[in-house]
């Protein structure tokens, strides 16, 4: 790129550039969400901050549109906007797909409900009801009485055996960003996790460290 053209780019003080730390955080959250078998906590504050910064910068880019001298600057900033918007959408979409997949187990388990944002929880409930009605209308209402429950195979089942639950013992790629001390793998096996260590291991022993952000899934 011609350096003389690029000069206006570094000066971004007039606009409101999205705080780059938040972008990193959201990228990490999206990666974690993509790789973890269960639904993770919704990063409300990061999403809110980025959303705010994005709207501000979108307005700023729009204001630049009339000024032809600022064309390059406008293009660079609008590309940045697109990337942030893509990231936000990717994050929302990844979560939504998981929520649909595990809707039944989320509705049944309060521990998961706390991890969803308000609108996600609403969506989850509505989706579960919709799917339940559909299954009843198409199949369950035509079955003998003993076999009608939605979440159980028969009325005699001792637990909800038709609910799809996240498989917490699947293996994931883990990277430690912090010294986490020892992690208990099972009764007699302990793993020392130090910074920058890489593991391929079961998700479950690491779940609490993913939640605190001491390790990340890659």
């Amino acid at each position: 790129m011609d350096p003389s053209q690029a000069t206006p780019v570094p000066d971004e003080s007039a606009s409101a550039p999205p705080p780059s730390g938040d972008i990193e955080l959201l990228i990490q959250a999206t990666l974690n969400e993509k790789n973890a078998p269960e639904i993770l906590e919704f990063k409300q504050d990061v999403v809110d901050r980025l959303q705010g910064a994005l709207s501000a910068q979108e307005e700023y880019v729009e204001a630049l549109e009339s000024d032809m001298c600022q064309e390059l600057r406008r293009m660079v900033l609008s590309l940045e906007n697109k990337r942030v918007r893509y990231l936000l959408k990717l994050y929302h979409r990844t979560r939504l797909q998981k929520i649909e997949k595990f809707a039944a187990s989320i509705v049944a388990d309060e521990q998961y409900q706390d991890r969803l944002s308000e609108s996600e929880m609403q969506y989850c409930r509505d989706y579960f009801v919709l799917l339940g009605r559909h299954f009843h209308g198409m199949v369950l209402d035509h079955l003998p009485d003993d076999f009608r429950p939605l979440v159980k195979l028969t009325k005699l089942s001792t637990h909800d055996d038709l609910i799809l639950r996240p498989k917490l013992n699947t293996h994931v790629f883990v990277k430690a960003v912090d010294n986490c001390g020892s992690v208990l793998l099972n009764e007699d096996l302990v793993l020392d996790v130090t910074q920058n260590d890489l593991f391929i291991m079961r998700y479950e022993p690491m779940a609490h460290l993913v939640r605190t952000g001491q390790v990340v899934l890659i």
Partner: protein, 221 residues
């Protein structure tokens, strides 16, 4: 009823083996046959049960027993053949239930994909649906639209921007006439065969609906 659950397996195979992006038409006939198989199993199971109960009652007349439940267990234990028959019938119904639910769930997944990829229901898919599935589609459409709306939801259309953004502009070719459309640069006629350079985000809806196609030939860029 020679092969238990075979029809259900056929049903599921039909949808699983179909092209991933397409929805095979709803096989009402086969679903009905599976339901009748289930009913038959249930009737048979009831018959076995009532025969056992009958025997018990005649036994009970002779000797005193504690409770009905224990007596029932005792009745089936005395006759392993009946107990096995009951288990087979119940397992067959359970298996058929699972197969039917999987069939419907597979179709639901495909219907949802249609909503994410095409935004509106193509004629060919609508014809393949049962009336209830159409209703499900429309309800799901409403639910998703509401979740993505500005006022009640997150304010992003998640069905767009599936791929990470590349250039600001893309070269496209019009493959289906769409008349005059308004772009940020002004109104533009989309006539079949025309090669254009459009802002990527504005071209995207037309790319999804099949009006435009990405033009990768370098000489036109």
């Amino acid at each position: 009823m020679s092969a238990f659950g075979k029809r259900g397996v056929e049903l599921l195979k039909e949808v699983v083996n179909h092209e991933p992006d397409m929805l095979p038409s709803y096989n009402e006939e086969l679903v009905r046959l599976v339901f009748s198989e289930i009913d038959e199993h249930y009737v048979q199971a009831q018959r076995v049960l009532s025969a056992v109960n009958c025997n018990q009652q005649s036994q009970q007349e002779g000797e005193e027993e504690d409770t009905g439940e224990q007596a029932e267990g005792g009745g089936l234990q005395d006759k392993p053949a009946d107990a096995v028959a009951m288990v087979i019938h119940y397992e067959s119904i359970a298996r058929n239930k699972r197969l039917l639910l999987s069939y419907i769930a597979q179709r639901v997944e495909r219907l949802k994909n249609v909503r994410w990829q095409h935004r509106e229901l193509p004629e060919s898919v609508a014809e393949a649906c049962s009336p209830q599935e159409l209703e499900f589609y429309h309800k799901y459409d409403q639910l998703l639209t509401k979740h993505m709306s500005k006022h009640e939801g997150i304010g992003h259309d998640l069905t767009l921007d599936i791929l990470p953004p590349g250039d600001n502009f893309v070269a496209v070719r019009v493959v289906r006439d769409a008349g005059m459309q308004l772009f940020s640069s002004g109104p533009l006629g989309l006539h079949e065969g025309a090669c254009l350079r459009l802002p990527a985000d504005e071209a995207q809806p037309f790319l999804i609906s099949g009006v435009l196609k990405l033009d990768n030939r370098k000489e036109f860029i």
